[in-house]
Amino acid sequence: MPVLEVQSIKKSFGAVEVLKNIGFSLEKGQSLAVIGSSGSGKTTLLRCLNFLERPDGGRILVNGKTVFDAAAVKSQSEAQIRQNRLHFGLVFQNFNLFPQYTALQNVTLAQELLARSQPDYQRSKKAILEEIRTRAQGLLASVGLSNRMDNYPHQLSGGQQQRVAIARALALQPDILCFDEPTSALDPELTGEVLGVIRSLAERDTTMVIVTHEMAFARDVSDCIIFMDDGRIVEQGTPDQVINHPQMERTKAFLSRF
């Protein structure tokens, strides 16, 4: 059973149809790269998965369970959405770290707040917080920031900030981790370290959806590539199929630019 199944998602902004019947599925432990020209709807797709936009049609299933159904959207409560959202993690293009918290606090904040609703929170508060903290430290170490945990975002380089953002998203143990052009806001020298972290996540079989313009990286790291154009999936397949032997004219035209 695929961990993520997207079924004919549609999304319009006003009169503009930005996503036209998007459907795909993703197996556990695989990573999916989404490529396509600017304005083709890649960001919007990720935002739909993360409930930042509400699709006008279609369904989203995680582990076979429906987490979104456009037909039944009214019956979803705010709390339910919040719950379903936790299946997904999202790493933003421009990091969106919380500036008033240290790297470590950025990673622990959401977990600490979630832990409050645990039944035994009051009793074993200290132990719970300690555990959250230890796990966060482990995560930061795994993205190579053991010595930067107590720095505030503005004291970190762009690449370091993006790595904190990745650790923050991982902390909630999402089933699917999404990246929206994670290196496009970085200086060329700093992209390497972030791509390295994502590559190591792929090697440890993290399920990921990665929107990227780094074609070489997409080919390297992904198990499957989707090429989007004008709100549609034009071509999908293994990196070799899509990048080395594209079938559609549009894909060829797009790839020729690189």
Partner: protein, 220 residues
């Protein structure tokens, strides 16, 4: 007790009225400003328009006029005053005029501050499963406060100077008190009032400098 001591004592007593007006105005207008700001940003358009027009009118007319109208209009229009009698009523009326006026000014500052917090901060909070109130209190509030601190500081410094307007409806604030002596030909109490204001303003300047420094540990 010599005459100068008496005069300073009376000046200090009357400056206490300025301080009370200052404190009460802050106490109420700082939170009320948020209500007004949210009103003016409401997605219910008529409310937003109404609030903005109100804010525009308040910001476009002298505070002095508002004080006079709030104090006299009820009495003249309905032959009864809600302010009660005596000097406490005057202070109440004056405070209400000040609170409304400053809430409108603050609301514009808040609005600018709220709009300046990047959307990405709200979205990052949402994606991490935080509730709306957690996002407000844990994520955006502090950034908002840091952003509005400098204009708030300016406005609050203006407030202490504006308290002198209380005299317009015969609240015996410090300048009015000093002028009583001036009408007896004694001018130095008038000059001394400047000291009270300068000390207060100086204190506020230091305070805001200190808070801004405190918040310097992060950068939005």
């Amino acid at each position: 007790m010599n005459a100068a001591t008496v005069i300073f004592q009376r000046l200090s007593e009357s400056f206490w009225l300025n301080c009370k007006l200052f404190g009460l105005t802050l106490l109420f207008s700082v939170p009320l400003g948020f209500v007004v700001a949210f009103g003016s940003m409401s997605r219910f358009k008529p409310l937003a328009w109404l609030t903005r027009t109100f804010v525009w009118a308040i910001r476009g007319t002298p505070l002095m006029l508002q004080v006079i109208i709030i104090y006299f209009a009820p009495g003249l229009l309905f032959e009864m005053t809600p302010w009660g009698s005596g000097s406490s009523g005057r202070l109440v009326a004056c405070t209400i005029a000040f609170v409304i006026n400053y809430a409108c000014y603050f609301s514009e500052i808040y609005r600018g501050g709220i709009e300046a917090v990047p959307r990405g901060q709200y979205e990052a909070g949402k994606v991490l499963g935080l509730t709306k109130s957690q996002i407000f209190f844990r994520v955006t509030l502090l950034q908002l406060v840091k952003g509005i601190l400098p204009p708030m500081g300016n406005e609050i410094i203006t407030l202490i100077k504006d308290t002198a307007l209380a005299r317009i409806i015969s609240n015996k604030e410090i300048i009015m008190m000093a002028q009583e002596y001036a009408s007896k030909g004694l001018i130095w109490p008038l000059f001394s009032t400047a000291i009270y204001f300068l000390v207060f303003v100086g204190g506020l300047t230091l305070l805001f400098g200190w808070i801004e420094k405190k918040m310097d540990y992060f950068r939005v």
